[in-house]
Amino acid sequence: MTALCPEVRDRFARYAEDRLDAAQRRDVRDHLRACRTCAEEASAADPALLFAAMPPEEVSAEEVSRVLAAVRAGMELRRAEKRLARSPRRLAALGSAAAVLALTLLLPGRLERPAGRTAVGDAAPRPATAPMPQFLPGAAPAATAERFPAEATIYDWNPGNSRDEPRVVWIVDGSLDI
């Protein structure tokens, strides 16, 4: 029993009724953490005081590091999800643009590669100057170099050499920002 005990015990009822100011509440808690006899008295008077006297939760530096690492990983995951959510649209836009350009090129007649253009990529580029009688017979107008965008690169697989294989033409326009 200390000199503070009677004063603190007098405050139990007002504590339970929430009629103490912040400083007085803190005094009661601090005292209950230090004085086992008063803590027992307090919990009999008001069970809430049994739990109010609990010391603050201890959190180790290791736990903080684990949370921080998990949060960083979560942030990275969210960024990756956002990138992934954007990329299918970009691919679809690129595919549509390529298809439109390919149709524009194929329907009028011959496929021509503008002079001075080089193809890049894994597929081996072939000269795009061969006529396409199997697709577009007759005197179709020839495609001219002016019809291609300045930045376009043309990839042509099987340019009219075989009927058994489909012909695939990709025109990639580097000037399009998609």
């Binding site: 803190r26 008001d46 069970p47 809430a48 609990m54 603050p56 949370v67 998990a70």
Partner: protein, 207 residues
């Protein structure tokens, strides 16, 4: 004692202002400031979540979700208001949601989950805290099991985390009278449940 309280109060105010400044820097894209904020506020968030959920593992999951939510919503943080209140609001709401879903899981899985959790808590409590504090924490978990999420959150914030009634009202987005009601009902639940376990000890106290 009053002098000590004044010093504590000045220190709290200075920390709050420092948190707010870090939050503004993080909102402007400063990841170093965000890391500092996470490091500084993790103990407070873990403490609240652990007390509401009564489970260290769940509390860690919730703390991670809290800071991810903060990072995603920092652009919406209004720096005229306390960062801590905003942070506690996110932490409390996520903890209450988690508590509701874990109670549903417990209903579904019944005794097995309870036993597994009790064993885990026994181990972690005894390694991280004194045995007596661990016992009181487990007792709180047991007697608060029939409280609603809001009652438990109010009790934890007011009685264990020492938050003012006005601040709790801001955190939960309700009126101060609602906070007092939740606190009153939480105390009633505690008294009733404790009386079932320790009838003799409480006979001397108020009904």
């Amino acid at each position: 004692m009053e002098l000590v309280y004044s010093q504590d109060r000045r220190r709290d105010e200075s920390e709050r202002e420092s948190d707010r400044r870090l939050a503004i820097q993080a909102r402007d894209g400063d990841l170093v400031a965000f890391d500092a904020l996470v490091t500084r506020k993790t103990p407070a968030v873990l403490s609240v979540a652990r007390r509401i959920l009564g489970n260290a593992e769940d509390a860690r999951d919730v703390a991670q979700m809290v800071f991810l939510r903060v990072w995603e919503q920092l652009a919406r943080y209004d720096d005229r208001y306390s960062f801590n209140t905003w942070l506690y609001r996110i932490a409390t709401n996520l903890s209450i949601d988690f508590l509701r879903s874990s109670r549903s899981r417990e209903k579904a899985h019944g005794a097995t989950l309870y036993l597994v959790r009790a064993r885990q808590e026994e181990t972690s409590a005894e390694t991280s805290r004194g045995a007596e504090d661990g016992e009181i924490a487990r007792l709180f978990e047991r007697v608060s099991a029939t409280m609603t999420g809001k009652q438990k959150a109010v009790f934890v914030l007011r009685e264990m985390e020492d938050r003012e009634t006005r601040e709790i009202a801001q955190i939960l987005g309700c009126g101060e009278s609602t906070v007092r009601n939740h606190l009153f009902n939480a105390r009633r639940v505690l008294r009733r449940e404790l009386a079932k376990i320790y009838p003799a000890a409480l006979r001397r106290g108020k009904p």
